[in-house]
């Protein structure tokens, strides 16, 4: 049965249903309903909610819990996510599965609370040090927040890799009807690598450092193979009216929702546009977008940032078609009419009307 739920609460409930029994976090708007919900529900679910003294502490608690093989999550918002970057790099190197939620707020600096997607570079290019990647899932509805959060834990366990669920403040705060259908998970191997008590078996070390350069390189090459595998296997996207589209918008999260309405408005004028929505920000769904390029005369990235994802779009388009940008920053969202106007100005070469 459907129920109305805020996106943040839906993420928390989905995590519990996915078997997450440990949550560590430090509250920060607009993600606070995640720890709030966990603080209410985790104990009765047989788990532990712990409010850490800081985001730095929280991410290292995640490291510890993940290292012993537990399903663990933290949730935060951009400034807190920045504080966690060192931890993310360590989590990758130690190959500890975990799920991190970033309900973005605008920056740079303390930033406002309004919806934004300006963490795109940090999310997708490795915000911490070293060569690493987390898989980044970008839902665009409360239902998708449920579905992808459940799956995030499986993906994390499958690859022994961190998975980030990235949304903006509107998605975190918005209520939509959601359902929690039974979830058929992936087939997963037992966590024989976990430091879960060595009685009756050789001990396991879950560590991130290799001080000799030759070992450092061989480990990096091995991690590189995993990155390639994830890049090959985990690209996801969703399309709206793309089959006969001559122009494509590229947008994720809330900006994809706004763009969907802009697509409807342009279609009413007889202009063949569609929406290509990345569901994974990393790996970017380059195969799906490339497959559409032969039919496309022009693209427009719609973003709540100065234009970050547009760089990835341009890499894939590689000069084969013009790539425009429609953006708002600092917590503002464009009206669908603004997207329509930007499209007409930049890609049709004419102004409004």
């Amino acid at each position: 049965m459907a129920m109305l739920m805020k996106g943040n609460e839906a993420i928390a409930e989905a995590a519990i249903q996915a078997g997450c029994r440990l949550f560590y976090g430090y509250p920060i708007t607009p993600s606070t309903e995640i720890p709030e919900y966990m603080s209410k529900k985790m104990k009765s679910s047989g788990g532990t909610y712990l409010q850490a003294e800081s985001e730095v502490a929280a991410i290292n608690m995640v490291y510890g819990a993940g290292a012993v093989g537990e399903r663990v999550m933290t949730g935060t918002s951009s400034p807190g996510f920045s504080l966690m970057q060192e931890g993310l790099s360590y989590l990758f190197a130690a190959e500890i599965p975990c799920v991190i939620v970033d309900v973005m707020r605008s920056g740079p600096g303390l930033g406002g609370l309004g919806p934004t997607q300006a963490d795109y570079f940090q999310l997708t290019k490795g915000g911490g040090h070293g060569d690493y990647h987390g898989i980044v899932l970008a839902p665009a509805s409360v239902q998708e927040m449920v579905d992808l959060t459940k799956e995030a834990f499986d993906i994390a366990d499958y690859y022994r890799n961190l998975v980030i669920v990235a949304v903006d403040g509107i998605l975190g705060q918005m209520m939509e009807p959601v359902e929690f259908p039974p979830y058929q998970g992936r087939k997963l191997s037992p966590k024989t690598w976990a430091a879960s008590g060595a009685e009756g078996r050789p001990k396991n070390n879950v560590i991130s450092y290799y001080l000799t350069p030759d070992l450092g390189e061989s480990e990096n090459l091995r991690w590189g193979q995993k990155i390639s595998l994830m890049k090959e296997s985990e690209q996801r996207f969703s399309e709206y009216l793309m089959d006969d589209a001559e122009f494509a918008f590229v947008a994720f999260g809330t900006s994809a929702r706004i763009t969907e309405t802009a697509v409807d408005m342009l279609r009413e004028e007889g202009i063949k546009v569609g929406l290509f929505r990345p569901v994974t920000l990393w790996p970017f769904p380059e195969k799906g977008l490339s497959a559409r390029l032969p039919q496309i005369k022009g693209l427009m990235s719609v973003e709540l940032s100065s234009g970050q994802m547009v760089e990835d779009v341009k890499l894939i388009v590689n000069g084969q078609a013009p790539v425009g940008l429609c953006k708002r920053q600092g917590g503002m969202t464009p009206e669908p009419e603004e997207v329509v106007d930007a499209f007409k100005k930049q890609l049709l070469g004419r102004g409004q009307g």
Binding site: M3, P30, G112, M174, V263, E335
Partner: protein
């Protein structure tokens, strides 16, 4: 209200229950198997005292969940009146709590409905249900859903408090009656 989609804005100061009546609309829309989104203003202004939420009810999948230009807006206090009157879509309706919002300059291209909901709520005996009275007024004049569905939503959201469900249902009906007699 084009093509089966209605966009609402509910605004007032904290404690007037504007987020709640948005939730009632959203819950009712879900019960009616319509598509629906509900977004609260979640910025720092909530701590300063004003609150608002926007609701979209649609027959088809909802793209943009933001409401820049509501079809139907409700302002429970003067600050919200000043802030939102310009945003109502031409041909739309602005509901005003005339118990505390003075008769300010309006607009010719929208319908402005002034109802003293605080006073009506006071007559019912519970000042805090002014928001539900207004919900009844909105339902009487610009309905999107059936009366019964809204009452069902009110009852569901009252949870395990039957006396609250009863009070809210009475306030809702009082709003409907007032609108039919006086507006």
């Amino acid at each position: 209200m084009t093509s089966g989609i209605t966009k609402y804005l509910f605004a007032g100061f904290g404690g007037q229950g504007v987020l709640f009546i948005g939730k009632v609309m959203a819950q009712a829309a879900m019960l009616a198997k319509r598509q629906v989104t509900w977004i609260p203003a979640y910025g720092p202004e909530m701590r300063g005292g004003t609150a608002n939420c926007s609701v979209i009810i649609s027959n088809k999948r909802i793209g943009s969940p933001t409401v820049g230009k509501p079809d139907i807006a409700l302002v429970m206090n003067e600050a919200s009146y000043q802030k939102f009157i310009a945003s109502v879509v031409p041909g739309g309706t602005l509901y005003v709590n005339s118990s505390i919002v003075p008769d300010l300059p309006g607009r010719d291209d929208i319908q402005v409905v002034r109802v003293p909901v605080n006073d009506i709520a006071h007559e019912i005996g519970e000042a805090k249900v002014a928001n539900i009275v207004m919900l009844g007024v909105i339902q009487a004049l610009t309905p999107t859903l059936e009366d019964e569905i809204l009452i069902k939503a009110l009852v569901e959201l009252a949870g395990k408090k039957p006396e609250l469900a009863d009070l809210n249902s009475r306030a809702f009906k009082a709003g409907i009656e007032y609108a039919r007699k006086h507006v």
